[in-house]
Assembly symmetry: C2
């Protein structure tokens, strides 16, 4: 029995342009309605207040794990698990060296920095110097603290909700969901998922984005056929 | 011709529980699609990042006016029109005197404070002492600076987009939308609208929430029958 569902937002619940299909909205509410005992946590690289808005409109998401596991909203209480300073220092140098552009959401970040930089770069030098990890969510590049990832927060969530990994299902599509899939018992991704999540996922849907998520929900019997 | 549409979120786009009906989502996207020249601004008492999340999921809202007109996101740039300090000082005394409870979104407020306090109170004493205005949006009580309201930001928006009041339509349901209705040429409210907006609205729909909004869109020919 699935007691905890951890859902990525961008690219998993939402489409490529980050908006939601009405069908996905309807399906997600059915999942909530048909599984009243199951806890649902939204987990994203995005900041908590933006997720708060997403959750409000969706009507789905009992708890919110933001900034790739750096910060958690649970029962009207916000807990930060990491600091921001190292990620800010690393960003300053990357901005100077490579001309990265800050995300507007950095204004509300408390444990990380996100930026846009086209092309492929080797960030090892910055990771070592500032003791940080630089990750690509597909939507943005994120500078995170060591140990700050969705796997870390999934472990916290399993403790908080007192559920085992075999009772936990995670769905996501980006490299930042790979850590998540490592620590939960069940996992599903979609056709637009990255190679690393597809390698780790228990179920890979042939469908994309919101349609793929509905397919995963059916596969794990959270939604009727 | 309507060139600027200013839309309240809570209770107007969304239902009583703040989630959205799939039908409203579909209708709003049709409005955007069928009126490509029209600018749409979301205006709310809520904070900018939460509105940012709402906008992302909706796929609607070119600009965002948060905190009842205190702060604006326009073309990836954030402008604060007011400060926060007076509202914080006023809140501290109200909290001590009346036992108000802070909204979690205060963490992200930059120009106001919002709180929950059941019952009717006369806040004149605090308004005078701290030079602030205390307003009820139906969802929360807001401590604002003098002159900070949706009417103020509507004037700014008409300047920014270079449109006249006769080219501007506003839709809302709360007392904080009454100021908005005073400065625009066209206005619509819904059956759940407060008395003050109903008195000022050009069109009052007999329907509620999202259904009412669709009705307003049809009345002003932004959506086909």
């Amino acid at each position: 029995m699935i007691k905890l569902l951890i859902l990525d937002i961008d690219g998993t619940i939402t489409q490529k342009d980050q908006s939601i299909l009405p069908e996905t909205l309807v399906a997600l509410r059915k999942v909530v309605f048909s599984n009243p005992e199951m806890h649902i946590c939204l987990a994203s690289g995005n900041v908590l207040p933006v997720m708060f808005g997403v959750r409000t409109i969706l009507g789905v998401g009992e708890s919110l794990a933001g900034e790739n596991g750096g910060i958690l909203l649970y029962k009207q209480r916000i807990t930060s698990y990491f600091q921001k300073q190292k990620t800010v220092d690393a960003y300053k140098e990357i901005e100077k060296d490579l001309g990265a552009v800050e995300f507007i959401t950095n204004r509300w970040r408390e444990t990380s920095i996100s930026f846009i930089l086209n092309g492929s770069y080797d960030f090892t030098k910055y990771e070592k110097k500032y003791d940080v990890v630089i990750q690509d969510s597909g939507f943005a590049k994120h500078i995170l603290n060591k140990g700050q990832n969705k796997g870390f927060i999934a472990r916290e969530l399993m403790k908080i909700y007192a559920v085992s990994k075999d009772e936990t299902l995670a769905c996501g599509d980006g490299d930042n969901d790979a850590d998540l899939f490592e620590v939960v018992g069940m996992s599903g991704t979609i056709s637009n998922g990255s190679r690393s999540v597809k390698e780790r996922a228990e179920y890979v849907s042939e469908k994309a984005y919101g349609d793929g998520l509905i397919d995963i929900m059916k596969h794990f019997r959270l939604l009727e056929e």
